[in-house]
Symmetry: C2
Subunit: 257 residues, 2 copies
DNA sequence: CAGGAATATTGATGCAGATCAAGAAAAGGC
DNA sequence: GCCTTTTCTTGATCTGCATCAATATTCCTG
């Protein structure tokens, strides 16, 4: 019986009562960021908007009054699809409940990511998104996604498709060390492409989640990471990872624990 | 050294000299099908076009004078990206050459599929597409993809994204039988959604390709399929597969060879 | 239709990673 | 701060699949 709960977390739901339809939609909150000032604007939906069109877009975007806490659910598989989200601060894991009840982690999301692309044309969410730490998002109602945004949407979606191909390569590589190294490099690329350090970052998820994502066991993830550290290819303290030798890492994919 | 050539095929290039710019673009060929008469129109790019807009679209679409033969390359990773393709007859495999030279099969494509979605915004092809049998395609130059088609494009792309999630589940399931059963059901769904039989179909690729795709070995694929056949869950003769018991198949994912 | 190449099958063996188990270290709550 | 819970680590054992090898079958070509 594959009882693969990945981590015995009871998922708490948060009553997402933001954008509380109190007449005026002044959903501006912590630090009341407008898109113009946002670090992620160039890669976000309104990348090419300005002036009145941007203002109009901003009026529709909703922000939460408080962050989602670790283990809280942003959206749940099966929920009606009404908005997509932009992750501004924190991190999420995406997971799917398979027919036999086991859950499979499909990916991790970091600041700058759009959440809900695969569900764009669907009536319901196909995946559950759970916060891994304190997490702030912008909520963008589907109606807001008019023709003017389609170009940018296509661009971001095609990017996500390419990331999924990377995942395929990672998973099909069929050796523990390869998967784990591939995972580290994937995360590193992700941060790098958002202007953050590729060699020094924070891994908010636990080993059970990583293992679930990679189709392996958390003990194996632990052993392999310990091995990489022992060879001075990475250094890990707490949830912080330091990549010391990218070339060595790539070469080390076949060497074991 | 993971020398994973998947099948020792020397890939022949075909000088794709269609749409041969002979002044008039009457690229109408075998059976000179117009989009209106095409089985796939409702799921294809021009789904929502008609009248003059459809006619204009059709004038840009090019068809080949002869099919691609098995092992011939439609496009090669690294080629300049100028068109996308619609697969009308036959089948393709998509593969990526990894940095270490090994090639990994990323997927199989059947009639009705759009080829090139992940490369839409890229200057070059990220994947090589190889014909598995006699294969006919429509070529759609990128310039043709104007705003009017973006809605449909988004729809198809989001669909492809969801298929990739299925692949992720398949690969992360980390047991041979699970992967193989998942593969069979994926193919079955694919045919089914195009109006073909979900239980009786043709598998044009060899076991080495399936194994490469799934991150396993062809011997294992052979043994597992033999096991499924022995349990009367499927029947296989030549390249034809008959699924006898869907429920049994799903249940059998843990039972071995 | 014959001969050769590609593909599939089947058996024997070895090993990477799963599994089981138990303790250590961190994180979180009061 | 202390206690509980979660997460991580490490060891011992087991097993499914890779690997190696050899034969059988199918496909292709002249």
């Amino acid at each position: 019986m594959a009882t693969d709960t990945s981590s015995g977390n009871r998922l708490r739901s948060v009553s997402a009562s933001f954008c509380s339809s109190s007449g005026v939609s002044t959903c501006s909150h912590p630090a009341s960021t407008d898109c113009r000032a946002c670090l992620f604007k160039p890669r976000c939906l309104p990348a090419e908007l300005d002036g009145e069109r941007l203002a109009s877009f901003e009026r529709h975007v909703c922000r939460l009054r408080r962050p989602f806490r670790a283990t809280e659910v942003l959206v749940r598989q099966g929920d009606a699809m009404r908005s997509i989200y932009v992750l501004r601060v924190g991190s999420l894991k995406a997971l799917i409940n398979e027919q036999d009840g086991t859950e499979r982690i499909m990916g991790f999301r970091f600041p700058g990511a759009l959440v809900g692309l695969a569900e764009l044309q669907q009536p319901r969410w196909l995946r559950t998104f759970v916060a891994l730490e304190d997490t702030w998002v912008c909520q963008i109602p589907l109606q807001t996604l008019d023709d003017g945004l389609r170009g940018q949407l296509l661009k971001i979606m095609s990017e996500e498709l390419r990331q999924e191909y990377h995942s395929h390569l990672m998973l099909a590589s069929r050796s523990g060390p390869r998967k784990v190294v591939s995972f580290l490099l994937q995360i590193s690329d992700n941060f790098s492409s958002r202007g953050l350090s590729p060699s020094h970052f924070h891994l908010p998820m636990n080993y059970a989640d990583v293992a679930n994502y990679l189709g392996m066991r958390h003990e194996s993830v632990s052993r392999i990471l310990a091995g990489l550290q022992h060879r001075d290819l990475i250094r890990k303290s707490g949830k912080t990872v330091l990549i010391l030798d990218f070339e060595g890492l790539r070469r080390a994919q076949d060497l074991i624990r």
